[in-house]
Symmetry: C2
Subunit: 222 residues, 2 copies
């Protein structure tokens, strides 16, 4: 997951590139699920307009503003709070997929990823602002969610969350960050990924059954 | 998806059963994504403590309260608002999976599903209450999200959302409800499911790559 990474400076030196900046906001917490399972950390992600899970952020034009000023502007739109993000919060940059709208375009998309630790109070403020103040609420952003980093006895928690569908490299960014910050030890991340693959397989079977049911009802016609 | 359904009365007549009630809250909307794509309807779901997508609700004990009173109580805990749900909102009931905590238990779990149309204003109030007033926020509920029922030119929207991982029969309940209420025509649901399966396949490959990466780092040990 660390392959093909660029530094902030290397990325900005790439001519004819577009830049997108996203940030993982997180905090520590003493809260306990069911009064006994320590939650330890809260990480924020969101369901985007396209139905996928991703981190808040968006396209920034370095000719008009710094990457960090652009990201802070995106946070104001999506989270409803102008949380300041600085150069020190930059983790890495990587090349995104070729543009699907203009595949012949020579301009590549560079994805900048930031991580910023804030307080638990700020996380709660952000969740509230996201539904009460953010211009994008119900439009570009369909909801803000906390990522469970724990694993329950049933195997649920991080593993089930990782089995969802993410935009671009957002799942890798999440995994990279929780490993680098040691929010979850590597052997537990490994177990969670194993659980994610199992849940994913059952989900495939369910999806195929749903598709067959609609076919029976004639839903594939028209 | 309509197989094995019981009416409310049939379900309540089953001796030695436990009952869980969940509700799909939804509204119509004139809002447009990017100022031009009609969103048409807002459907609420949530990310649960176990990382899975589901509808708000929970276990109800019919010996102590009506199913609907129990569901309204659960909504107060999870959504932060006592939205009254009535018998007329009951759609169907079905048998849940055998209890994983006590597989030898003879008591089966019956899943009751309700659909309730509320106003767009009430949806916004519910989203706000879910993060500001609900006792379960950040604990049993990790976030409230709107389900995109539209399909974008990229194929994203409902299709991507359906590729996530859901608790129990929640995805079937969602599909059943949007077809029955004609919120999305059957041929568009079919296309969305086809898109979901494609995204799901890519996601499997990503998960396997992530697992291999952690193996390389020695994460499977310990």
């Amino acid at each position: 997951m660390a392959s093909g990474h660029l530094s902030r400076e290397e990325a900005l030196a790439c001519a004819n590139s577009r830049h997108a900046c996203h940030v993982m906001l997180y905090c520590d917490t003493k809260a306990q699920l069911f009064g006994r399972f320590p939650i330890k950390h809260v990480v924020l992600m969101q369901i985007r307009f396209d139905g996928l899970l991703g981190f808040p952020g968006g396209i920034v034009e370095p000719s008009k503003e710094t990457l960090e000023a652009g990201l802070t502007r995106e946070l104001l739109e999506e989270v409803g709070m102008a949380i300041p993000v600085s150069e020190e919060d930059h983790v890495n940059a990587s090349y995104g997929p070729p543009s699907s709208s203009s595949p012949s375009s020579s301009s590549s998309l560079i994805l900048h990823f930031y991580v910023k630790k804030i307080t638990e109070e700020q996380i709660k403020e952000a969740e509230l602002a996201a539904v009460s103040a953010a211009a994008d609420h119900g439009l570009e952003v369909l909801g803000t969610v906390r990522v469970p980093l724990y694993t329950l006895r049933s195997g649920g928690g991080l593993g089930s969350f990782l089995s969802h569908t993410f935009i671009g490299n957002a799942r890798s960014q999440l995994l990279d960050a929780i490993l680098r910050l040691n929010l979850v030890p590597a052997h537990k991340v490994y177990k969670a990924l194993t659980h994610a693959l199992q849940g994913h397989k059952r989900s495939s079977e369910d999806l195929r059954a749903a598709l067959a049911m609609i076919e029976d009802r004639g839903g594939q016609r028209l």
